[in-house]
């Protein structure tokens, strides 16, 4: 039995305040990614506890599977546009998955 063929994909993870979601979304697509996944996140950072309880204290975690070129464009645009004024961290993983060319 042949294993399903997998290829390399970049995974960009952005953890940021919820207000940014609607601003970052269009930037991610403009950078060349086909889509992204968002979920609520909790934690603590240099801007204090983000307990997701209510009223602007919630964070989101945005995951983007994309090509390497798109990944660095996303990191670049997000860092230059938002990191000065918003709570935001970004990092990039190397991952592998089936149908890698679709990203």
């Amino acid at each position: 039995m042949n294993p399903t063929p997998v290829g390399p994909i970049k995974l960009v993870v952005l953890i940021c305040e919820e207000a940014l979601e609607q601003l970052v979304g269009p930037d991610i697509i403009a950078a060349g990614a086909k889509g992204y996944t968002v979920c609520d996140a909790r934690g603590r950072g240099n801007r204090g506890v983000r307990d997701a309880s209510w009223l602007l204290s919630s964070n989101v975690r945005i995951e983007v599977l994309c090509s390497e070129a798109a990944a660095w464009r996303i990191v670049d645009v997000v860092e230059t546009k938002y990191s000065a004024n918003y709570g935001l961290v970004a990092y990039v993983h190397d991952v592998a998955g089936p149908r890698a060319d679709k990203f």
């Binding site: 305040e17 207000a19 609607q22 601003l23 204090g48 997701a52 309880s53 209510w54 009223l55 602007l56 204290s57 919630s58 938002y82 004024n85 918003y86």
Partner: protein, 314 residues
């Protein structure tokens, strides 16, 4: 006890938060409660509108909205000169104070009902029109007209926000169906109102307790500002309400609206429109100082001010 029992729940939430109790309102419940409160307030205004000639309201609303621009325009220079705050912070805080708080309004109506004071049911129409102009003024104060503000995004955030959508929607529903048609809804939105308000205020107490640490960053000036400006705005509200020919209760509610500071619509809009502003300052002072002040002291005080004015100038 002159204070409304719903205020007791605010104090309970505050104490629970300060004691680090594990009491917590999930954001789903808080969202549900605010939706309920917005609809209930909108419906009440709509039912009342059905019995009021709408053209009689146009002038009072225009005057009340124009005058409400005074709050951010007075607040901004005070924050800049006396508070020495950076321009974005001063503009954002000015916008918070120019906008209004739905829950403070709800506490005001609840207080008046308990005191047996009549007020114009259509006051919630004022609430709709007082919510968003200050947010636009705040952005103008921060950036002027021609800098790269995304006005479309801001307009969408402000005008399509749930507060405006639900208030206007419920107003329209109440207005179209009138009190007779909406009798089935009155049981849920009228009779249960105080119960839901008490739950929401319990949550507000918890949130306020969590914000008290922000006050250390805000400093003494902002704490004093968060008490003095609402009182000043309330004086204006009572005077304008009186000159518009509102009843004693109506003028009190207009004062409550002018004195209240937004902590739901404004923070969300300012975060997008003025990202340089530190949200801990604006939310800290509006939620940590002004909201508790208005709920515990302000509402009875503004009522007393209106009673005094209506006593000497009948």
């Amino acid at each position: 006890m002159r204070l409304d029992p719903v205020v007791g729940f605010f104090v309970l939430g505050l104490l629970a938060g300060l004691l680090r109790s594990d009491l917590k309102l999930s954001s789903g419940l808080s969202d549900t409660l605010i939706i309920y409160l917005l609809i209930a307030i909108g419906l009440k205004g709509g039912f009342e509108l059905a019995n009021t000639p709408v053209q009689d309201l146009v002038l009072p609303i225009i005057v009340a909205v124009l005058m409400s621009a005074g709050t951010p325009l007075i607040a901004f220079p005070i924050l800049r000169r006396l508070g020495r705050l950076a321009r974005p912070d001063a503009a954002s805080i000015a916008a918070h104070y120019g906008s209004v708080s739905v829950v403070t309004f709800a506490v005001g109506t609840s207080y008046l009902t308990r005191q047996g004071v009549e007020y114009e049911g259509y006051m919630s129409v004022f609430l709709v029109f007082l919510e968003f102009p200050a947010l636009i003024i705040g952005v103008l104060l921060a950036k002027g007209l021609n800098r790269n503000t995304d006005w479309r995004l801001l307009a969408h955030e402000v005008l399509a926000g749930k507060a405006i959508v639900l208030l206007i929607g419920a107003l329209a529903i109440g207005w179209l169906w009138g009190r007779d048609g909406a009798e089935a809804l009155a049981l849920f939105y009228d009779d249960l109102f105080k119960g839901f308000l008490s739950l929401f205020l319990l949550g507000m107490g918890l949130v306020t307790a969590a914000r008290i640490s922000d006050l250390r960053k805000a400093g003494v000036f902002l704490v004093l500002f968060g008490i003095a400006l609402p009182v000043l705005s309330a004086v204006g509200g009572v005077l304008i309400g009186w000159s518009l020919g509102l009843s004693l209760g109506g003028a009190t509610l207009l004062a409550v609206l002018y004195a209240s500071a937004s902590y739901i619509a404004a923070p969300a809009a300012m975060r997008i429109a003025i990202p340089e502003a530190n949200p801990a300052l604006s939310i800290g002072v509006s939620l940590g100082v002004t909201f508790p002040f208005n709920v515990l002291v302000g509402v009875p005080l503004y009522h007393a001010m209106a009673r005094w004015l209506f006593g000497v100038m009948p």
